[in-house]
Subunit: 254 residues, 4 copies
Amino acid sequence: MAFFELNALSVILGGSFAARVFFIEMDKLQLDDAAHAYRYPVLVLLHDEGGACMDLQRTPAERLAAEHGIFILAPDVQHTLGANMEYGPQYETFISTELLNICRRIFPITEGPANTWIGGIGTGGYGAVKTALHHTDVFTKAFSIDGTLDMYAIIEQAKSGKDTGIGLQEAQLSAIFGDLARFSGGENDLYALANKPATGKFFFVCEEAYSRKEESESLAKKLGVVAEIIALPAGADCFSQQKSLPEAVRWACV
Amino acid sequence: MAFFELNALSVILGGSFAARVFFIEMDKLQLDDAAHAYRYPVLVLLHDEGGACMDLQRTPAERLAAEHGIFILAPDVQHTLGANMEYGPQYETFISTELLNICRRIFPITEGPANTWIGGIGTGGYGAVKTALHHTDVFTKAFSIDGTLDMYAIIEQAKSGKDTGIGLQEAQLSAIFGDLARFSGGENDLYALANKPATGKFFFVCEEAYSRKEESESLAKKLGVVAEIIALPAGADCFSQQKSLPEAVRWACV
Amino acid sequence: MAFFELNALSVILGGSFAARVFFIEMDKLQLDDAAHAYRYPVLVLLHDEGGACMDLQRTPAERLAAEHGIFILAPDVQHTLGANMEYGPQYETFISTELLNICRRIFPITEGPANTWIGGIGTGGYGAVKTALHHTDVFTKAFSIDGTLDMYAIIEQAKSGKDTGIGLQEAQLSAIFGDLARFSGGENDLYALANKPATGKFFFVCEEAYSRKEESESLAKKLGVVAEIIALPAGADCFSQQKSLPEAVRWACV
Amino acid sequence: MAFFELNALSVILGGSFAARVFFIEMDKLQLDDAAHAYRYPVLVLLHDEGGACMDLQRTPAERLAAEHGIFILAPDVQHTLGANMEYGPQYETFISTELLNICRRIFPITEGPANTWIGGIGTGGYGAVKTALHHTDVFTKAFSIDGTLDMYAIIEQAKSGKDTGIGLQEAQLSAIFGDLARFSGGENDLYALANKPATGKFFFVCEEAYSRKEESESLAKKLGVVAEIIALPAGADCFSQQKSLPEAVRWACV
């Protein structure tokens, strides 16, 4: 098993960024591929709000990259929900263009969308599904693990001064989404996006006891035939995606 | 020489943060201090805009912590200029309260302001001097290395669509400072703050060829007797504060 | 949850070393303890041969440190089995003296043996139990997870040219233990050490399907009333001590 | 500027290893090279005894990789002097085969010896020059910065119980080199190797005040026309190769 801590400058973000890169066991790289022609599938994996890419070292990501022969790119998205902030960095653009382009120069990863996937945990699931719906030419599969998906509900909670459960308050949500009164039905509203026929494939997984499980269920229903949803027994994930991430990666790799 | 990479949760920031902590050679810790009564001086050190705390590993920070017997705390402040953002995290509060309080629980560092200092490089110099002027009960000394200090000038450049030289554009400066029309003379304007008599001590160091050298000179002049300024030959710093940081730390430790 | 990557110099090792330090949520540190009098329990945790301390980030160590209010020190022991090598660094001495002494200067951790514990995974279990048996004045509890404990059997395999299952060959085992003909019954032979009455407490945990499970069973039997052993269902640990480490830390903290 | 922390498994070392990888600014990668045909030069850079690859972050390595458009691979060689240990890991083989082969699979670096170079600091200079002399088919250029080169003298000091100045004592030197009585004139004795005509190119740089400067001078003299040597003013390097490493990389890139 192997991973990088990548620290580099992004033109789009206007500064340095950090990412974890998990990849196949080095002695299992296609060592007989003298021409270096083989290009590995790549999965962009987004962490939850309040966390950082290093949280993903607790998950089986490193082992799954090795087992399935894929690269997993996990960038820090800080408090941006992976969005193009109204007042702040343009993470969605970074993720769907510069991050992949840079990594394609450095690593032997696939160029086309067929084997380019995106997934996330918690609010990372929101960012992953939204980015895939916006960039169908880049990503063909997206998954959400214990997703925090209904941002409209969260905005309503924040406006009425309630705890949103994800740490962000009204001012921060405004910085990300701009005028909150215009959120519903807009480009950041997953449920509005899901009304249009989607071309990629989507996978949702939640633990049975997960409090936002319905958000995944209703979004999967809206997406229709392109979406699949499964549930795991409560506690199965040991707080670190021990069962859900293997299921999601297996789904992507099929 | 020794350092930590610290990764932890902040209540004030509403999420995880990263910091480098440089400290005295471990075999030189006061090993005869059986009661662990000795408390080391502490310097908070802020990186430049577009960078990260790991940039400080290029500087002599680790060696200086060892030589002078101090702890250096270098937090990531991302694209916030170390400020309490209007739309975003409250870094100035984090730096002047939670970060120090947490580290005082974990490390044997001083409790009082006499040996609690703050410094920074580039825009970090701006954040350091401003935080010290705002929090005279916390920090008694502040320094700026090749400081980017005149934010009003930068805001004017941004408004007229010019390159600010620090990567930030108008929208990002608004997210940090709020209404830019009200910046001048406010709590984030160093030159306005310097009009009031300051109680701490301040140190400015620039390379001779540094393009913003005048900003340090005029601010030092405004601060008057509490401020000291020195210049280094062009190139002396080898792009990594090889001469300026030793000068600044020596100044603080006297 | 919080952790450090510690990089520092050791006098005993004659060079730099790396360690992960996991500790209690920072906002849950005894913030009402103005005198900083409280000293947290400390667990030294040893990784398996062929691995490194960063492997422990895959385990629940960070969460367990937070939940139980303890510090977990996980040093890199490289290819030494945590031993005082015949030809090489003195890791057992480093672990049982310098590492703890240094950390007691830096962190608010306990001074005495009552709350100073050691544990390990695979060959780390061997190192942990041996170190505790050798240093009863330092450690009062030790645990082994899926332990690789019978070094005599491994040496016999290595001598006959068989795969030892732990990567080390005869030359490397000689570098660690010296003359292999004199291993049996010596200070590095756990089963010989267990013949003498032990004063600490010992805990062994294995998955049902673990191939070396008998090694734990026979050692626990030899240790007698001071030892406890439990088995977990096959697969319960998800390759990353998801169930065994919580059991072991809970046992230590009682 | 950009770098990786690489953590992976080595078959030759029988376990995990760590390395820093410094490389060209990501936005300056040959972005117009759609076929990814360009292969960057590569420099293997060895740290000094008692240190680790992260020490190289204090040097201008990251900036030099960016400026010259090269990859710099800096592996941890621990206490091995980069040698194939008699009792321990085979670092010279690892460095000259597996490390490069793995990195050629992952990164767009050159395949052939023309642009594959090796250098080091202190004892890293010893390892670099020796590895280049042994593997002329792999490396065509080698440099040594403030080299600790005369291992025979160090062995004599160790045998007579004197401080070797590099931390290693007789037992450790035996673990590396085997029977010390047979060191002189053998495969690990640089001055013996230099008696044979060398095919690569060699560069030595020392500060004027460096105590082992004569070792570089006499080795350069033995190597003859293939070797170049320069001296820097005392203190020029600011303890972190600020002048010597740029000189050495410039020499290699010409």
